[in-house]
C-alpha cells in the first residue's frame, strides 16, 4: 500500500506541471495566435467601430433609453447591459418581484402600441446581454420611433423586415433582429437625429 502511494508521487507532480504547461498555457496561447491571424475580427469581440470610436460589439446588446431608438429586452446584467457582469434575473415562476416587473413593463409597452405585447419585450434574457429581439418586439416600437424621428412608419417596418434574420436551414434559431444593427441603420435613414 505504501509503495503504491510513493510510486505515484513523481508521476502526479511531474504530469501536473507538464499538463499545466501544455493545457493551461500552450493550448490557449497557440489558439490565440491562430485566432488573431485567421479570424481577427471575431477573436477580438466582433467590435463595431466608427472611426477610432468603438461603438460596441455586434454580439453584445447595449442599453437604449432614448425614445428615438429601438429598445432591447429588460436586462439583469449589472445596472442593465453591463458587459462586465452578465446575468439573468433568476426570478422564479411564482416570484412576486418578477410579476410586478412584468406588469410594469407590459403597461409601458401598451402605452406605446395597441399591438399584443410580445413576451420577449417584457422578459429579461438569460445573459442580460441578448443582442436580439423578435421582429414583433421591434414592430411594437415602430409608432414611437417613427413619431420621434419624424419618419413614416412604413419605412421603419421595411427596415425591420430587411434586418430580420431567419432560422438557419429552417430549424436552427428563431426569427430575430439585432437591435444595435437596427439602430445603426436607423441613424442612416435621416429624420430627426437621436440627440
Amino acid at each position: 500500500m505504501l509503495k503504491d502511494f510513493t510510486s505515484a508521487i513523481r508521476p502526479a507532480l511531474v504530469l501536473t506541471a507538464l499538463f499545466a504547461g501544455l493545457l493551461g498555457l500552450a493550448y490557449p496561447a497557440a489558439l490565440t495566435g491562430l485566432a488573431q491571424v485567421l479570424f481577427p475580427a471575431q477573436a477580438n469581440g466582433s467590435l463595431i467601430r466608427h472611426g477610432d470610436r468603438v461603438i460596441g460589439s455586434r454580439l453584445i446588446g447595449q442599453a437604449f433609453a432614448s425614445p428615438a431608438y429601438f429598445h432591447g429586452r429588460p436586462s439583469a446584467a449589472g445596472a442593465g447591459y453591463d458587459a462586465a457582469s452578465s446575468s439573468g434575473s433568476n426570478l422564479g415562476p411564482t416570484s412576486r418581484a418578477l410579476a410586478e416587473r412584468i406588469a410594469g413593463d407590459v403597461a409601458a409597452a401598451r402605452s406605446e402600441s395597441a399591438l399584443p405585447v410580445p413576451a420577449d419585450l417584457v422578459t429579461a434574457s438569460a445573459s442580460g446581454l441578448d443582442p436580439h429581439v423578435t421582429p414583433q418586439a421591434a414592430l411594437h416600437q415602430v409608432a414611437r420611433v417613427a413619431a420621434v424621428r419624424g419618419l413614416p412608419e412604413a419605412r421603419l417596418r421595411d427596415l425591420i423586415a430587411q434586418r430580420t434574420e431567419t432560422p438557419l436551414l429552417g430549424f436552427l434559431g428563431e426569427r430575430r433582429v439585432n437591435v444595435l444593427a437596427l439602430n445603426l441603420a436607423l441613424d442612416g435613414l435621416g429624420g430627426n437625429p437621436a440627440r
Binding site: L22, Y27, L180
Partner: protein, 567 residues
C-alpha cells in the same frame, strides 16, 4: 410547441446516434492502447511525458493501485489550482487588478473543477483573471474528463478480462485520452467557435461608447479555448457568469447545436466502446437506447411546459411560452433541449436560466441530475454510473427467476451488488441530508433569492448539482458564502470519489472472474425487455428517493403557479 422545435430535437437525437460509432471506434483504439493516426504527430509528446514523469505505460495496475494513483493525481491538481486562485492578485495577466480568491471560495472552486462539477459560486468575468481561467481552470476541464474516461476504461476491462489481477494503467489511460482525443478535438472545435464569434485574445476587456454615448466595458479573454473543452469534457464551467447563454460563449443557433452535440458525443461513444470491449456492440446499443428513451421523455416535458408558459404571466397580458431567462436567438425549443442535455450529461453549462423556468420545466433538469446523470452522462461518469444500474437490473432479474445473475459474461455476485448499491446510495444520502440541513439552518436559509417553494428548489438543486457533479444551478441562490462553499465542497467530493472508488473495486472484482458462457437460462441483455427493465430500475431506484423532496419544491411551485399565489 412548434414543428420547427421538434425538428431540432429529432435532428439532434439522430446526430447523437450517428456520432456514437465513429466516436466509439476512436475511443476503442485508445482503450486498447492502439496507435491512432495522431500518434505520428503526438507520439513523441506522449513518450516525453512518460519519460519525465517516470511512467511505464505498459505496467499494469490492480484496481487498488489504479485508484490510489488516480486519487493522488487529483489531490496534486487540486492544490495546484488552489494556489493559482489564492495567488491571483500577484500573478501576471491580471490587468483589471482582480483580487485573490478567498480560502473557502478557492477550495470550493478547486474541488469543483477537479471533480468535473464546475459549480461556480463566482461570476467568471468579475472574479477570475485570464491566467486563472487558463492555468487554474482549463487544465481541469481536460484532466477531470480524462480521469472519468480512464475509470470507465478500467471498468470495461473488468468486464472484458478473465481471471486477471489488473485493470490497466491510470497514467497511460489519462494521458492518451487527453493527447489523442480531447486536445486535438478541442483545437478544431475552438477554431469553429472563434469563426462563429467567440473571442480568443489575451486582452482582458475593451471600453466601448454606445450609440447613446454611455461607456460599456466589454470583458473579453481566451474564451473559445475554454469553451471547447468545457462542453466536450462535460465540465460546464463558463468563462462568463451567464455561461452558454452569453453571446461570446455561444454566439448562434448553430454553435448551440454543436455545443449540445459535444456534450453528448463522448458519452454516446463510450456506450459503443463498451459494447465493443465486451465483444458485442449490441450491448452498447441497448444501453444507448435506454438512455435516449429516458432523455426524450424529459425533453418532451421541459419543452411542453416552457412552450405552455406561465399562467401568472399570461394573466398580466403576455401570451405564449416562458421567455424569462431565455435568449431570443435560441428561443424556447433550443433552450428546453439544452437544459435536458446539460443535466442528463453531467455538464452543467446552461444556455438559459433554469431558475426562471416554469415549475415543472425546471423540475426535469433537477430530476435528471438526481437520477445520477446517467442518461448519456458525463464523460466516463455516465457509462460507469449506468453500468451500476445495469448490475442492479440483472440482480433484480436474477431474484425474479431464482438464478445467479450474469451480465456480459460475468457472474454478478454479492460483492458487486453491494458495491453498486453503495455508490448509488451515496448520492441521495448526500443530497437529501445536506439540503435538509440548509433548509433549517439560518446560514442556509440566507441563500435563496426566491421565496416560497421555489426557494427550497434552489437549495435542493444546489446540492443535487454538487453531489451529482453537474454544476448548473438555480442561480438565484447566493452560494458564495463559507457555509455553502463548505457544504458543496463536501457534496462534490463525495459525489465524485465515493462513486469512482467503488466502481474501480467492481472493476477489480469482475476482472478476477472467469467468463461464463451464455446459456438458454441467461437473461438476454440486448433486447427491448432489457431496455425496459433498465429504465424501470433507473426510475425506481434513482428517482423514487427524491419524490418527497420534489413535492416540497417544484411540485408545490407548480400548484402555486396554477392557482396564483405569489411569493
Amino acid at each position: 410547441m412548434t414543428f420547427q422545435g421538434w425538428t431540432l430535437i429529432a435532428v439532434f437525437i439522430a446526430l447523437v446516434i450517428a456520432l456514437a460509432k465513429p466516436m466509439g471506434l476512436w475511443l476503442f483504439a485508445l482503450y486498447e492502447g492502439r496507435a491512432t493516426p495522431l500518434h505520428r504527430l503526438l507520439g513523441p509528446v506522449e513518450r516525453g511525458f512518460y519519460r519525465l514523469a517516470g511512467i511505464d505505460p505498459a505496467a499494469e495496475q490492480g484496481w487498488r493501485r489504479y485508484a490510489l494513483h488516480m486519487l493522488l493525481f487529483q489531490l496534486v491538481l487540486l492544490l495546484f489550482t488552489y494556489a493559482v486562485l489564492r495567488l491571483q492578485a500577484v500573478l501576471p495577466m491580471n490587468p483589471r487588478a482582480l483580487a485573490a480568491i478567498g480560502p473557502d471560495g478557492a477550495m470550493n472552486t478547486a474541488i469543483s473543477f477537479v471533480t468535473n462539477t464546475n459549480w461556480q459560486w463566482y461570476s467568471g468575468e468579475v472574479a477570475m483573471s485570464n491566467l486563472s481561467q487558463m492555468l487554474g481552470l482549463t487544465i481541469h476541464n481536460f484532466l477531470s474528463a480524462a480521469t472519468g474516461i480512464a475509470v470507465a476504461f478500467a471498468l470495461f476491462r473488468g468486464f472484458a478480462r478473465q481471471e486477471a489481477a489488473t485493470v490497466g494503467n491510470f497514467w497511460a489511460d489519462c494521458t492518451r485520452v487527453t493527447l489523442y482525443l480531447l486536445l486535438p478535438a478541442c483545437i478544431l472545435y475552438a477554431l469553429f467557435l472563434i469563426a462563429s464569434g467567440a473571442p480568443q485574445t489575451l486582452a482582458s476587456s475593451i471600453d466601448a461608447t454606445t450609440l447613446e454615448g454611455v461607456r460599456q466595458t466589454i470583458v473579453l479573454g481566451p474564451v473559445a479555448s475554454q469553451e471547447a473543452i468545457k462542453m466536450l469534457g462535460t465540465n460546464g464551467g463558463g468563462f462568463f457568469n451567464a455561461n452558454s447563454a452569453h453571446p461570446f460563449e455561444n454566439p448562434s443557433a448553430l454553435t448551440n447545436l454543436v455545443q449540445m452535440l459535444s456534450i453528448f458525443a463522448i458519452g454516446a461513444g463510450l456506450t459503443w466502446c463498451f459494447g465493443k470491449a465486451v465483444g458485442n456492440t449490441r450491448q452498447g446499443w441497448a444501453i444507448l437506447a435506454a438512455m435516449l428513451l429516458i432523455f426524450v421523455a424529459g425533453v418532451g416535458v421541459v419543452y411542453w411546459q416552457e412552450a405552455a408558459g406561465n399562467p401568472i404571466h399570461h394573466a398580466l397580458g403576455i401570451a405564449g411560452g416562458n421567455m424569462e431567462g431565455k435568449e431570443v436567438r435560441f428561443g424556447i425549443a433550443a433552450s428546453a433541449l439544452f437544459s435536458a442535455v446539460t443535466t442528463a450529461a453531467s455538464c452543467g453549462a446552461v444556455n438559459a436560466m433554469h431558475d426562471s423556468f416554469t415549475a415543472l420545466g425546471g423540475m426535469i433538469p433537477l430530476f435528471n441530475i438526481q437520477l445520477g446523470e446517467i442518461v448519456v452522462g458525463g464523460v466516463g461518469a455516465g457509462i460507469y454510473g449506468f453500468l451500476l444500474f445495469a448490475l442492479l437490473a440483472v440482480f433484480v432479474a436474477g431474484l425474479m427467476v431464482g438464478r445467479t445473475p450474469e451480465y456480459v459474461g460475468k457472474k454478478i455476485e454479492a460483492r458487486e451488488v453491494k458495491l453498486a448499491v453503495l455508490s448509488i446510495a451515496v448520492l441521495p444520502l448526500c443530497i437529501l441530508a445536506l439540503s435538509s440541513l440548509s433548509a433549517v439552518l439560518p446560514a442556509g436559509l440566507a441563500g435563496p433569492l426566491n421565496k416560497g417553494p421555489h426557494g427550497f428548489s434552489e437549495i435542493l438543486y444546489a446540492f443535487s448539482s454538487g453531489a451529482g457533479n453537474n454544476g448548473s444551478a438555480f442561480a438565484g441562490l447566493s452560494a458564495g458564502t463559507p457555509f455553502y462553499n463548505g457544504l458543496l465542497s463536501v457534496a462534490m467530493w463525495i459525489g465524485r470519489f465515493f462513486m469512482i472508488v467503488p466502481v474501480l473495486a467492481i472493476a477489480g472484482s469482475l476482472a478476477a472472474k472467469k467468463q461464463v458462457t451464455e446459456s438458454a437460462g441467461s437473461f438476454p441483455t440486448t433486447g427491448p425487455l432489457w431496455v425496459g427493465l433498465l429504465i424501470g430500475i433507473v426510475l425506481i431506484v434513482g428517482g423514487l428517493t427524491f419524490l418527497p423532496g420534489l413535492a416540497l419544491g417544484p411540485i408545490a411551485d407548480h400548484l402555486a403557479m396554477a392557482s396564483g399565489p405569489l411569493f
